[in-house]
Symmetry: C2
Subunit: 405 residues, 2 copies
């Protein structure tokens, strides 16, 4: 190891020690507010190469069984260049040849290619559940190969980090193919460096989780907010469009926004935090945050379940669910209108959300926003179920390491 390596080790040591001792780590000096947009970086030949390489992978990811000639047409590069790129990818085992195209047509038969989907693994973690950290090991398709859980009820601080380590240890030990990276969806505010600025439930403040994990396992690591991960998961695996909002309802209410195909971070990395926005102008229940009528007071699952329990008959339960849905619609109206969203997706307890609540939200949204100006709005439940966050985490690894999105 060079001096540089040793120094990096030392930095990690310091960070871990500081977290364990409850001291702020170096990164806490960084302001929460995003830095003013630095100019886009210069473009060198190798950057162009990486970009084109990612285009090839993306094309292969979406449609397996393309030939080099197909790729040339799809991506817009020449067959020569594609062959060159593909040769690199095959040398790295990221792409494999499937053999000749079976169908019969004029000309030399094509050699079909595909991503080596089974040849690599990705680890995805979901730290947003209060009772257990959940994790999966998938192939490049996002197909779950194994699962693991670690109970964390009441666990905070460095203990919680250790719990994540145990989960990762278990998943990595079971990997049968090389792991290309680790994705972690964490609750709370996460900055662009993968530092958890704050996550009250886990007692984390300025925990440089990405740095800790990537150095401990020597693997590329992506850390982001759980709802943002969920939004990216839905975009890649759930077929969500380029302008989508994903609402996550659980103990709290959060959301992830994809606008023009890009994840929205917000000026303080707090984009999507809509749980404590006040809804409507007719009061509402008191909220833990000190305000009254926050979205969470209607929609967070503990509150919703309590309200349901109070209802005596089906009609009462329907009314509770419809009111919650209406409140969500009222809150989302301005967002849907301002962003001209084409799609809103709900993730959370299916039995609570999928029926009357969803319907009431859709009706409210349409009646409060849709004019002749706006097109259709699609409101639906996630297609990914409970795995939405872990799969989103897998997507960030696919994107970060292979350029696939």
């Amino acid at each position: 190891m060079t001096t540089k390596g040793a120094q990096r080790g030392a930095v990690t040591e310091g960070a871990e020690k500081a977290v364990r001792a409850g001291r702020p780590v170096a990164s806490s000096a960084r302001p929460v507010r995003a830095a003013t947009a630095r100019p886009t970086s210069r473009l060198r030949p190798e950057h162009a190469r990486r970009h084109n390489r990612a285009l090839v992978m993306q094309a292969l990811y979406r449609a397996e069984g393309l030939s080099r000639a197909d790729l040339a047409r799809e991506v817009g590069l020449t067959r020569v260049t594609i062959s060159d790129l593909v040769a690199d990818l095959i040398a790295e085992d990221l792409v494999i040849e499937l053999g000749l195209r079976p169908d019969s047509r004029p000309g030399k038969p094509a050699t079909l290619l595909d991503l080596n989907r089974q040849g690599f693994s990705i680890v995805g973690l979901d730290l947003s559940n209060n009772s257990a950290f959940r994790g999966v090991l998938t192939d490049l398709d996002g197909t779950v190969k194994s699962r693991a859980e670690v109970p964390v009820r009441g666990v905070t601080g460095m203990e919680a980090v250790d719990a994540a380590y145990r989960l990762l240890d278990e998943l990595l030990a079971g990997a049968e193919a090389p792991v290309i990276g680790i994705g972690i969806g964490s609750p709370g505010l996460v900055d662009l460096d993968g530092t958890v600025v704050q996550a009250p439930n886990l007692g984390w403040h300025d925990v440089p989780l990405q740095q800790l994990v990537s150095e401990r396992y020597d693997l590329p690591t992506q850390v982001a907010n759980d709802a943002n991960m969920a939004a990216q998961g839905e975009r890649t695996f759930g077929g969500a469009s380029a302008d989508t909002m994903l609402i996550r309802i659980g103990r709290g209410v959060g959301s992830g926004l994809v606008i023009g195909g890009h994840l929205v971070h917000g000026s303080g990395f707090a984009a999507g935090e809509i749980g404590h926005v006040v809804v409507g102008t007719d009061g509402g229940a008191d909220c833990a945050c000190g305000k009254a009528g926050c979205l969470e007071t209607w929609l967070a699952s503990p509150r919703l379940e309590a309200n349901l329990a109070e209802a005596t008959d089906d009609a009462g339960r329907t009314a509770v669910l419809r009111e919650a849905g209406e409140r969500l619609g009222i809150a989302l109206g301005p967002v849907v209108g301002a962003l001209n969203l084409g799609e809103v997706i709900l993730a959370g307890p299916h039995d609570l959300l999928a029926g009357d609540l969803l319907e009431a939200t859709a009706e409210t949204l349409r009646s409060r926003t849709m004019g002749e100006l706006h097109g259709d709005l699609s409101l639906r439940m996630t297609a990914l179920g409970r795995d939405i966050v872990v799969l989103g985490a897998v997507v960030t690894v696919l994107t970060g390491q292979l350029g696939i999105s």
Copy 2:
């Protein structure tokens, strides 16, 4: 002229004729909804060069009086490459040498460079005003060199297009430096090709304004929604941050959103259309759109002025303004929260907006959204006054033609 050129001319003819005859033009067949994100294009050497060239221009734009060596440090390319790029730019007269750096320090004195800010002109048009189309001619700094207006009260359809032509004729005739492009802020829905999908006030449906203007004047032309133009103007000339919402209040209420430095278009090019979002849960005045309690019923300047006229004393007028401000705050709350906006900017009649209304909006926003999660929100009037749209249009030309944003 080649066959290709003739063909282009023919297409224009058809479009103009169709518009004049009130028939739909070819482009109307295009769906309003944005196409599914086509994969990012391949990157060839010349694209990289263009990108790096834009970086150089952008650095010079922000800070005049940089040397080649300064640029190399700033942009991250080598001095050699910068010299090469600068030589190109000087050959095109886009960059000029200012002479030697005056201060005294070791080493060879630097030759200072600057954009040739006075050497080129840009035309910006604002078609959003009901009584007159307004236009300006500026230098590359956005400094207004001349102004012009054409009355258009009640003018619609191809007559309105002709009015824009007259305005352009006048401005272009007065240009003393070569014009690098034309920017036009239009009311209504404008797609990415610069076709005005619909602008009821002007009686426009699928008017390919960008195509018409660029072919008539043989100049690069940018057409976009007026509020979007305003947002871009405020971002470049008004110092707005990378996450900003600009609210435009006039005959109606619209907005332009910049998220992560990028303009938001929305799935149907209707992003920012918040005028007909219902505000609050306690009713409101009937709106022309058929709903009740739309944002416009409180904020559109005709309504606001009518309400003010009804008030008998200062207290009453303050109450009217505060209520309008509160309604705006209520509508913006979910948007500010979901996007974690750091900045909201108001543009419109200064006497109506700048006092009680603005204050009430700020208070409402803070009380309904701000938690420990969110940073400070800055709410202010535009710094650009009535020129905000034309200057925004100028910015789009700077961005589109020179890569400056």
